[in-house]
């Protein structure tokens, strides 16, 4: 086939230039020899025959040259020789080369790193079959979106959306998994029978649980993640179909999922083991209590709009206060939040890149200007303008490629750093890597910078405007274009640096605000741990309350623990749902129920956390506590639930609650009840009387205003899982072992989860803030260094160019101070314009940073002003050093140099 021959011929010509040359030589020799023998035959003398033949053949070298052009070998050869030449000349200017490469590498590196993060976190699809068809269902009220839905919602949804969606749910439920050696805690995820199959990922071994397995009170069935299976069971295939101990009870393992499967990761915490809701005795009619993340796969041919319409109909019927049901593409909620933050960081990185570009271009422009005489000489000696431009291009190309490679290294470091600063709030961070796309991006951006540099520095060399020897060697001031560019550089770099520094400073300030906030409780020295009581062995409220009462007592008596309290969710850690409630005597209209933070706690909660009581009394000495205490013997003898759980229930509310809901009346003595209890069939069994008011505690997030909160005694609502908070005398974690022993003493099958220093948990809530701040600070630092280098470089270069001018000025009577003022003044003027421009930008878009920043208190004038002064000072300082050199120019010296 023709093209096969063509390709083969071309490859031969291009890749083996020497063989091609040899072949031509031999062909020509043969041809000439044939001509010679022809001439001999015609009767010429041998010498004359050869002479005539060579004459007739013509210049063999010219023929060869034509053939070389013809086969396209020339540009390749030229490219190689030009690059070699560029490398040699760059080696003679190592400072310049290093500065150009480093400046480009820093800009490219940070941009590529953030680009990779953005790509992985925001753009890469979820690792499930047809991820586009998976949606998540939430309730939405105004800005507020609730992702965790109560079981009753799941039941409603299952009924109303069956023709559109296959539902899948997830609820985290840490379980105690018995292994050969010990009991470990794994992140169990409660799912329904259709959930895992809905995701479309086949199991590695065994089978997925079937819908038939998911029956209330059915036998426990579990699917293990690859990690749990290989880590705790030595990847034993025989385990499939066998049984493990879960929360002390036997549970059948139906299958093992492949490596990397961690539903509902990547947008939520990864699951390690999956168990079915039915056997876990999930009450699908419960309107409150532990809820589920709800997902669904669109049935064939259905789209999101149809699902939303169906959900709208459903919402119109129900009375939930948590807002209307809506569906969105899965991952959208967390992605949106991350995307906003990452886009801000990407913009910041892009600013660093622009500064890098400007410096890169400036360096090459300066070099071209410096080399004008050399280039003029070359041109006078016969180099064509095209050839000179090619030489410059080769140099730019070498620098650009080196810069891009350096950029990849910087990107790798940056990604490692970002991962090391690990933020809980940015999902999938661990997966970020510098891959093919990032490499392409880095080289593409490098090529862009190279093209700009080549265009700008090549302008002075285009034919017609090219340098002539005479034109340039004698001028006193030169490079007007270069000077304009220098001013532009000062202006642009001060603007961008100001923006970045101000951003970083504002984030730092909000971080400080955050750490200085009074959370309303004392978290230092508090040990945090969670225990969970399996439903199978602690089936009712009485048995759980009894357990917690003993636990509270025993923990408080551990040496080194001063105070101990139990609560459902630790304050300030951002967990726990709100509860709809009503105040007796003022029941709201359906759908208008107010909400509050609702916390079952132990009587010692306020004392242990140093929350002052404002009015009335706390829950200590609560009737429930007394009942639970009376019941302690019952726990030990194994007959749970002996204590009577009747009588009035008591609640303590905080001041925010009083402000919001009881402004106009005496709070003490008011009665509260929860939504489900006002159903027609219930005769108000769950009502609490307010007996006290406490100071506000930032129960949700430390950086959010304290929400209204109601505290009730845990014996009224003994949750299946409670947090132990123990105030210690010294280091909290030193007491984790005694705490474990206390729990093991009560029930050896119960693991203790989440043993942490409460302070540490709260600080990690600032992580997001810290990540944004650290990165912006990093970018700002890089920008500052680049800007200093750029301004210093460009002013130095101008000073060197204008040394003669300065010499003449001094010879004519200018004082060194005048020269200093001239040069510093010029940079200073443009730096000032840059600072003003930067201030305007910060004033306009600074508030966008608020998205990055819990604890954001707006754009602080003081901080911005301080940054502006700092940037201006640095810019002037960078110009001052080279200006000093000009001021000390000796007129005799500089004028003699010519």
């Amino acid at each position: 086939v023709k093209w096969v021959h063509a390709v083969r011929a071309r490859i031969g010509l291009l890749l083996r230039p020497r063989a091609a040359e040899a072949r031509i030589d031999e062909e020509f020799r043969f041809h000439v020899d044939m001509m010679v023998s022809e001439n001999l035959r015609a009767g010429m003398a041998p010498a004359e025959a050869r002479r005539q033949a060579l004459l007739a053949f013509g210049g063999a070298d010219r023929h060869k040259e034509r053939m070389r052009d013809e086969r396209g070998a020339r540009w390749l050869g030229d490219l190689i020789s030009d690059s070699g030449y560029a490398l040699r000349t760059l080696r003679r200017a190592p400072g310049f080369a290093a500065a150009a490469v480093v400046t480009l590498a820093i800009g490219l590196g940070v941009t590529t790193a953030i680009g990779s993060v953005l790509h992985t976190v925001v753009l890469a699809p979820a690792p499930y079959a047809e991820p586009d068809h998976v949606v998540q269902i939430a309730r939405e009220r105004g800005e507020r979106r609730t992702l965790v839905l109560p079981p009753a919602d799941v039941a409603r949804l299952r009924e109303a959306t069956s023709e559109f969606l296959t539902l899948g749910v997830a609820r985290f439920n840490d379980v105690a998994l018995g292994t050969a050696e010990s009991t470990v805690r794994v992140r169990g995820t409660v799912v329904t029978g259709s959930t895992l199959s809905m995701l479309g990922v086949p199991p590695l071994l065994g089978r997925l649980p079937a819908a038939a397995d998911d029956v209330p009170g059915g036998a426990c069935v579990a699917v293990l993640s690859f990690a749990v299976w290989s880590e705790h069971f030595a990847a034993d295939p025989a385990l499939v179909g066998g049984s493990v101990r879960l929360n002390g009870m036997p549970c059948t393992v139906t299958g093992v999922m492949p490596e990397g499967f961690a539903y509902p990761a990547p947008y939520f915490a990864p699951g390690e083991l999956w168990l079915l809701a039915g056997p876990e005795n999930t009450d699908w009619s419960a309107e409150a209590g532990p809820g589920f993340l709800v997902f669904g796969r669109l049935a064939g041919g259905r789209d999101l709009a149809e699902v939303r319409a169906a959900l709208g109909v459903l919402s119109a019927r129900d009375e939930s206060t948590a807002g209307r049901l809506t569906a969105m593409r899965w991952a959208a909620p967390s992605r949106e939040a991350s995307r906003e933050r990452l886009l801000i960081l990407l913009a910041a990185a892009a600013l660093v890149l622009v500064i890098g570009y400007v410096n890169f271009v400036m360096l090459q422009l300066a070099r071209t200007v410096d080399r004008r005489e050399e280039l003029a000489t070359r041109r006078a000696l016969g180099a064509t303008p095209g050839r000179l431009i090619r030489l410059m291009l080769a140099e730019t190309g070498v620098l650009t490629i080196a810069g891009a490679l350096g950029g990849l290294v910087v990107a790798k470091w940056s990604v490692d750093l970002i991962i090391a600063l690990r933020s809980f709030m940015i999902p999938r961070m661990e997966e970020v890597a510098i891959g093919g796309g990032a490499t392409a991006m880095c080289f593409g951006l490098a090529a862009l910078g190279g093209a700009v540099a080549a265009a700008v520095s090549g302008v002075g060399l285009v034919p017609g405007r090219g340098p002539g020897v005479a034109r340039f060697s004698r001028s006193v001031t030169r490079g007007r274009g270069g000077r304009h560019f220098g001013r532009g550089l000062v202006l642009v770099e001060t603007t961008l640096t100001l923006i970045l520094l101000a951003g970083a400073a504002l984030l730092a300030q909000s971080y400080r605000n955050l750490s200085a906030l009074d959370p309303g409780f004392r978290s230092t020295g508090v040990l945090h741990a969670r225990v969970a009581l399996p439903q199978t062995r602690y089936p009712d409220d009485a048995s759980r309350a009894a357990f917690y009462a003993v636990l509270e007592d025993r923990v408080a008596s551990v040496p080194g623990i001063r105070d101990a309290a139990l609560t459902w969710v630790a304050p300030g850690v951002g967990a726990g749902a709100e509860q709809s409630f009503a105040i007796a005597g003022r029941e709201p209209a359906p759908g208008m129920w107010p909400t509050t933070v609702w916390r079952p706690v132990s009587g010692g909660y306020f004392r242990a956390l140093d929350v002052p009581l404002v009015r009335g009394r706390s829950l200590e000495g609560h009737r429930g506590a007394a009942a639970a205490a009376a019941n302690r013997g019952a726990l030990d003898s194994g007959s749970a639930g002996a204590a009577a759980m009747g009588g009035p229930r008591e609640a303590v509310v905080n001041r925010a609650f009083v402000r919001r809901y009881l402004q106009d009346t005496e709070p003490l003595g008011q009665r509260l009840h929860l939504v489900p209890s006002v159903r027609a069939d219930a005769a108000e069994p769950e009502a609490w009387t307010i007996v006290g008011v406490v100071e506000d505690v930032r129960e949700e997030y430390v950086y959010r205003e304290p929400p209204p909160a109601v505290y009730v005694h845990y014996s009224d609502q003994p949750r299946p899982s409670m947090v132990v908070l123990a105030r210690t005398a010294g280091s909290p974690l030193a007491l984790s072992q005694p705490l474990r022993e206390v729990v093991a003493g009560l029930d050896p099958d119960l693991p203790v989860f989440g043993i942490r220093d409460l302070d540490y948990i709260l600080r990690s809530e600032y992580d997001l803030n810290r990540l944004g701040m650290a990165l912006l600070a990093l970018f700002a630092g890089a920008a500052l260094v680049l800007a200093i280098a750029g301004i210093y470089g460009v002013v130095s270069h101008q000073v060197a160019q204008r040394l003669r001018e300065m010499g003449i000025r001094i010879a004519l009577g200018a004082k060194p101070a005048d020269v200093l003022r001239l040069i510093v003044g010029e940079s200073g003027r443009f730096a000032a314009i840059g600072v003003v421009g930067g201030l305007m930008v910060v004033g306009t878009v600074g508030h966008l940073l608020g998205a990055l920043t819990p604890g954001w208190t707006g754009v602080s004038r003081g901080v911005v002003a301080a940054v502006a002064i700092a940037v201006a000072t640095v810019a002037v300082g960078a110009a001052y050093l080279p200006a000093r050199r000009a001021a000390s120019a000796d007129p005799l010296e500089t004028l003699r140099q010519e």
Binding site: A9, E27, F30, G58, R66, M67, R71
Partner: protein, 113 residues
């Protein structure tokens, strides 16, 4: 395959001669130039400075291929032969040429009368 523009007319005629010559038998460069000279009875003389670049170009386009061979008097020489693509191109070029020559002749005849 690549359509030739009129800019290539002169070069094209050399290519045509070379391809036509090689359609008879495979031949070395010297043989090709001798053949063209002989058939045209000396009226067409092929310049070596054009012939070898033309051969290289045709080979690059995949119309001919070359390999080393031995001549009648036992010398090593590079022999060129048509590829099937070259054969097709030759037919095409010949048609073109004949149309062009006929047209040219018609126009010239008209202006002569």
């Amino acid at each position: 395959m690549s359509p030739r523009t009129s800019r290539d007319a002169l070069r094209g005629s050399l290519d045509l001669l070379v391809l036509n010559t090689l359609s008879l038998e495979s031949m070395h460069g010297w043989g090709i130039s001798q053949h063209i000279q002989r058939i045209s009875e000396g009226s067409l003389e092929v310049n070596q400075g054009s012939l070898y670049p033309a051969l290289q170009r045709l080979e690059k386009e995949g119309l001919i291929r070359s390999e080393w061979g031995i001549t009648d008097n036992s010398r090593r020489a590079r022999y060129y032969e048509l590829t099937s693509g070259g054969r097709r191109a030759l037919r095409h070029e010949l048609d073109d040429w004949q149309r062009f020559a006929a047209g040219l002749e018609a126009v010239l005849r008209e202006s002569a009368t």
